[in-house]
């Protein structure tokens, strides 16, 4: 049996990575998704005992950011390749790498994608939707996935090439640039949306800025959940509408 992981195998891992959280649970977290993806290279192991051990070790609990799982899966595939090729220490190094990296990759991925790129693309899409309609959601999806898909899918190939040096991802130049773009892009697009809201030619335009201040103040202190805060804003808006605009012409 050839102990090589082909590009087709890596493509299969990347495909299954899109379904990483299909069976997410509080116990084993993403373990079943990891095992389903890694099963693409089960051919590295020829004996039934080795295949059993291979599948069982990838069913151990694991939790990381699903986007950042791509490079980690690629690195794990490389170490499995080495183990199948006769490196006696490769399996223990892979288990250790998985345990050590899942947390930092999760923190980086959550900050970069969920708390960074998603709100940035959301605000940019909203500003465009305000002016151009349907182009807004399209820009939102394209902008997010232009970063998301290369990392999630291409990351498998990159991780396979880097193996245990996969942590270099967190110091990559594009990661730093994306952090800067998020830090400045979110406030800029947010201010654009406030200006657009305040430019509406009707009396309610005066409610936008105070509501934004309330949102940023309560949000930055995590005092109120978004849904509850919006519920309160709806109530205030209803009262104001009853007071100031009893009826439309």
């Amino acid at each position: 049996m050839s102990a090589r992981v082909s590009r087709l195998d890596l493509t299969r891992i990347a495909f299954w990575n899109l379904f990483l959280q299909a069976s997410y649970g509080t116990g084993r977290r993403q373990a079943l998704g990891i095992a389903a993806a890694m099963a693409s290279i089960r051919g590295l192991w020829s004996t039934p005992e080795d295949r059993r051990a291979f599948l069982l070790r990838h069913l151990e609990p694991m939790n990381t950011n699903p986007v950042m799982a791509g490079p980690l899966l690629g690195a794990m595939a490389r170490l499995e390749e080495r183990a199948a090729g006769g490196d006696a220490e490769a399996v223990s190094r892979m288990v250790h790498m998985r345990r050590v990296l899942e947390g930092p990759l999760a923190a980086t991925g959550d900050a970069l994608f969920w708390a960074g790129l998603r709100p940035l693309a959301g605000l940019a899409g909203s500003v465009i939707a305000w002016q151009c309609g349907a182009l807004g959601p399209i820009v939102f999806v394209v902008l997010y996935n232009a970063v998301h898909l290369p990392v999630r899918l291409g990351g498998v190939f990159w991780g396979h090439a880097k193996a245990e040096r996969v942590l270099e991802l967190m110091r990559a130049r594009w990661v730093m640039r994306l952090r800067v773009a998020v830090r400045w892009g979110i406030p800029v697009f947010g201010l654009c949306l406030v200006a657009l809201g305040a430019s509406v030619e009707a009396l309610p335009r005066w409610t936008v800025a105070p509501a934004a201040v309330a949102g940023v103040f309560l949000g930055s202190r995590s005092l109120v959940r978004g849904g509850l805060l919006a519920g309160g804003a709806i109530m205030v808006g209803l009262i104001l509408s009853a007071v100031f605009s009893p009826s439309l012409p």
Binding site: S23, L55, G122, A129, V182, A202, P210, A214, R225
Partner: protein
């Protein structure tokens, strides 16, 4: 008001897609309100109203992050409900922007509340699904013990079923409750922008607090000055 069977089927299908897209598979962010509400509005016959509600809801949940094992509100189904109800809300529309329109204040408040309720109700229900994966794990471990990767993958993909069913159920329940609410709501012709603009404001503020945690007051001051200056001109 109600939808015809074809529209129901398409909205339930969109509910299924967005429920799975949020976390279980792909995660292309079709489940985010900006996209899901727009698509739902388009299916229900008024894309501009659906998109306007999507813009409002996008900010509302911008600070909801799936950190650790804590699930998000069920954004996809919630946004589908909001977009579809916006399209079928009674009464005249008022322009929020050159291309976005919204219903009157009372129908808008009802559909936003129903949408937010669907999203928040989905959170504990998703958590319950996450806690009950024991049978799938057993199936996967048995398959791995027999060296059968196909069984591991089958167990894994079966995890999509309860998430998808929950998403479709929430869309159906939200649409039924929402259309009933819109039917019995008092017909008071008030400007919907009184409701829309405060929600837009708090949503934008929430989103911006993500990137300026320690210096959020700077952004707040800038937003206040800019908002007042633009409103004055």
């Amino acid at each position: 008001m109600s939808f015809d069977p074809g529209t129901w089927a398409l909205l339930l299908g969109l509910g299924l897609w967005t429920a799975l897209d949020q976390s279980a598979c792909l995660q292309l962010l079709v489940s985010q309100p900006l996209v899901a509400s727009w698509l739902a509005g388009w299916i229900a016959g008024d894309a501009a109203s659906g998109l306007a509600v999507g813009v409002l809801l996008q900010g509302v949940w911008s600070r909801s992050l799936p950190l650790g094992a804590s699930p998000l509100p069920f954004l996809g189904p919630a946004a589908v409900v909001g977009g579809a109800l916006a399209a079928c809300a009674p009464g005249p529309r008022v322009g929020l922007s050159p291309v976005l329109v919204i219903p009157e204040a009372v129908p808008l408040a009802i559909l936003l509340w129903v949408s937010i309720a669907v999203g928040e109700l989905g959170r504990p229900l998703l958590q319950r699904i996450y806690r009950r994966r024991g049978a799938l794990v057993e199936m996967a471990l048995t398959g791995a013990g027999e060296g059968r990767a196909s069984r591991v993958r089958l167990a894994h993909l079966m995890g999509l079923v309860p998430t998808g069913l929950l998403g479709m159920s929430l869309v159906a329940a939200g649409l039924l409750v929402g259309t009933s609410g819109l039917d019995i709501a008092p017909h008071v012709h008030t400007d919907g922008r009184w409701v829309a603009l405060p929600v837009l404001g708090v949503g934008v503020g929430q989103a911006c607090s993500l990137s300026m945690k320690r210096r959020a007051w700077i952004w707040g001051a800038a937003a206040l000055v800019l908002g007042v200056a633009v409103a004055l001109t």
